[in-house]
């Protein structure tokens, strides 16, 4: 029937979009980044220079790589205890109850709040707190940004972890109970070892999200094009420098920014791929 053929061809053609898009993205990023790499070579990646003055332009990605890595990892560290306890609450202690359903919805709400709203709330509500602690004079900096970032990635870590934890077979838990273990002991000796790969994968995926976060970080990290000097010092991430400076950039500077975008793309793709790999190996 020609209707069949037409449908099959149509479906196949639409699948090509993804192929073309992916190829196009990679080609455009490489193409746009080429001038910067031609000018600075691979030194671009490890250099922390950022000098846009005409005549002695020099750009390097290291300040931003450092900013991205530090904020994302710090955010993950802050997020881990929160996500861990929340997923245990949802999937173990109160599994199946209305309370767990409510908590799950609340956590999902966290994921629905737009990034700019987080940044803006962080600016008006968290910043004064940070200034009050005296650890930073203006409230901007790596720590503030990481804190908000942590809140933003908690839902991603929690929902996957909770799912994996709820899939631990009841019989294993019962065997441990029947031997006299307390609930906490059952969790640490049976549930967690059983769910370990899934939990790690969920944290890696959360890290992947943190790496690409733009608006909230841009508004809180202090916009300093240097490697952060301390935990409460300002800096910039790959995403935030692009957001801040792309609009008025041109020529070599724009190419440098695109090159940073390329690096961000590669890092994020790698981390996400790692997480998916772990899940597949586990499932």
């Amino acid at each position: 029937m020609s209707g069949d053929r037409v449908t099959k061809v149509l479906l196949f053609i639409s699948s090509l979009t993804i192929l073309l898009l992916s190829a196009g993205i990679v080609i455009s990023l490489f193409g746009g980044a080429l001038p910067a790499f031609r000018e600075f070579g691979f030194r671009f990646i490890i250099s922390s220079a950022w000098n846009p003055t005409a005549g002695s332009e020099e750009y390097g990605a290291m300040s931003f790589i450092a900013g991205t890595v530090i904020t994302s990892i710090l955010a993950l560290i802050i997020c881990i205890p929160m996500a861990f306890s929340t997923s245990l609450f949802i999937a173990e202690y109160y599994n199946g109850t209305r309370t767990s359903g409510i908590l799950r919805s609340l956590v999902d709400l966290l994921a629905g709040i737009p990034s700019i709203v987080y940044g803006f709330w962080g600016f008006y509500a968290l910043r004064p707190l940070m200034v009050a602690t005296g650890l930073t004079d203006q409230g901007f900096g790596v720590f503030t940004a990481s804190l908000v970032l942590a809140i933003m990635i908690v839902p991603y870590a929690t929902s996957l972890s909770a799912e994996i934890i709820s899939m631990v077979p009841a019989e294993l838990k019962e065997a441990a109970y029947s031997l006299g273990a307390t609930r906490r002991e059952v969790i640490f000796s049976v549930v967690i070892p059983s769910a370990r790969s899934g939990i790690i994968a969920s944290f890696i995926l959360a890290l992947g999200r943190a790496l690409g976060e733009t608006m909230a970080v841009t508004m809180l990290i202090g916009n300093a094009n240097v490697i952060p000097k301390g935990l409460f010092a300002p800096g910039n991430t790959m995403a935030s420098v692009i957001a801040n400076q792309f609009g008025e950039a041109s020529g070599l500077k724009m190419s440098a920014l695109i090159a940073i975008g390329l690096l961000l793309f590669l890092i994020t793709a790698l981390v996400n791929y790692l997480g998916k790999l772990i899940i597949k190996r586990f499932a």
Binding site: M1, G3, D4, T7, K8, L10, F12, S14, S15, T17, I18, L21, S22, I25, S28, L29, G31, G32, M82, F84, S85, T86, F89, I90, Y93, L103, L106, V107, L109, L110, G112, I113, P114, S115, I116, V117, F120, W121, Y124, A125, I151, V154, T158, R184, E185, G208, L211, G212, T214, M215, I242, A243, F246, I258, G261, L264, F265, A269, N272, K276
Partner: protein
């Protein structure tokens, strides 16, 4: 029976105490995790409510002078977010025109041909694409559209970046929805002699409709809140227009503009409140659609 080894019974109370303490830790951690929601929503509601009236939705954003005058005399700032609303609407509709049909069809393709290596490859590419930070999609749309097609910032570029964001989301949710359809339904259709394409249009899609709708709604709620790619593509504009080749505003972009202008502070709160409520409502709507039609 004879005891061959020491059976300690004095650690039982210690273990019970640790057990109880750990439970409290878990509860405390969970409460801490969700406190930010209440803080954020509460803050926004209290501070943003004042500025919201009919004019908020119908008037375009004020310029900084008007805002300064109003702020210094303690009045409500004139104007609203109308240009942002129209711009967002324009770009989202354009993006949907591209992403929804393509996403559905690709999702169906992957589901129908899941045994082919090519289909699995496309699936992996979709997953990678989903993880690409939105600002990079902004760079891409800038290179493709702003530089080469519209020779300047434009709504078209903005919608392209949003479309690329929506596409993987819709593909994934379509495929997952399809996978939940019992195989017996397809088999029943084929047993009645239904041709393949009719099976898709008349059985597969209608049966999974609520799941597909949920996926679309969630994708929409995701892109409505996006700011970063629009900064590099749509740029923003005070005008209310439908010209896709010119810059256009969007609600998140307006929030960014207001944020950067100290005179417009109260507008930031109300615009953020509106955006957040809108996005969260879409989220809840999507969830209720999903749960009401539990057939799939």
């Amino acid at each position: 029976m004879t005891e061959m080894y020491p059976v300690l019974t004095d650690n039982i109370s210690r273990r019970n105490r640790t057990n109880i303490r750990f439970r409290y830790l878990v509860i405390a951690g969970s409460v801490i995790t969700v406190i930010p929601i209440f803080l954020i929503v509460g803050n926004l509601a209290v501070k943003g409510f004042r500025q919201i009236n009919l004019a908020f939705f119908t008037k375009p954003a004020p310029d900084t002078f008007q805002a300064m005058m109003a702020a210094s005399s303690g009045e409500i700032i004139p104007g609203g977010i109308a240009n942002g609303l129209t711009g967002s609407l324009l770009m989202v509709v354009l993006a949907s025109l591209f992403a929804i049909p393509l996403g559905l069809m690709t999702g169906i393709y992957i589901y129908e041909n899941s045994s082919l290596k090519y289909a699995r490859f496309i699936r992996s590419l979709t997953e990678i694409l989903q993880g690409v930070p939105s600002i990079i999609l902004g760079i891409i749309a800038y290179i493709w559209i702003v530089k080469n097609i519209t020779r300047g910032y434009s709504a078209l570029a903005g919608s392209v970046s949003l479309a690329i964001m929506m596409l993987p989301l819709i593909i994934r949710s379509t495929e997952e929805t399809m996978r939940m359809i019992p195989v017996s339904i397809r088999e029943a259709a084929f047993a009645l002699g239904t041709p393949y394409y009719k099976m898709i249009y008349k059985i597969l899609i209608p049966v999974s409709f609520s799941g597909l709708a949920t996926g679309v709604l969630l994708a929409l709620s995701r892109i409505l809140g996006e700011t970063a790619p629009l900064m590099l593509t749509a740029l923003g504009s005070p005008a209310i227009s439908l010209d896709v080749t010119r810059p256009v505003s969007a609600v998140p972009l307006l929030i960014w503009d207001f944020y950067n202008d100290p005179n417009m502070v109260s507008l930031v709160w109300s615009a953020s409140l509106f955006l957040m409520v809108f996005v969260l409502s879409m989220n809840l709507l999507a969830r209720s659609v999903a749960s009401k039609h539990k057939y799939i």
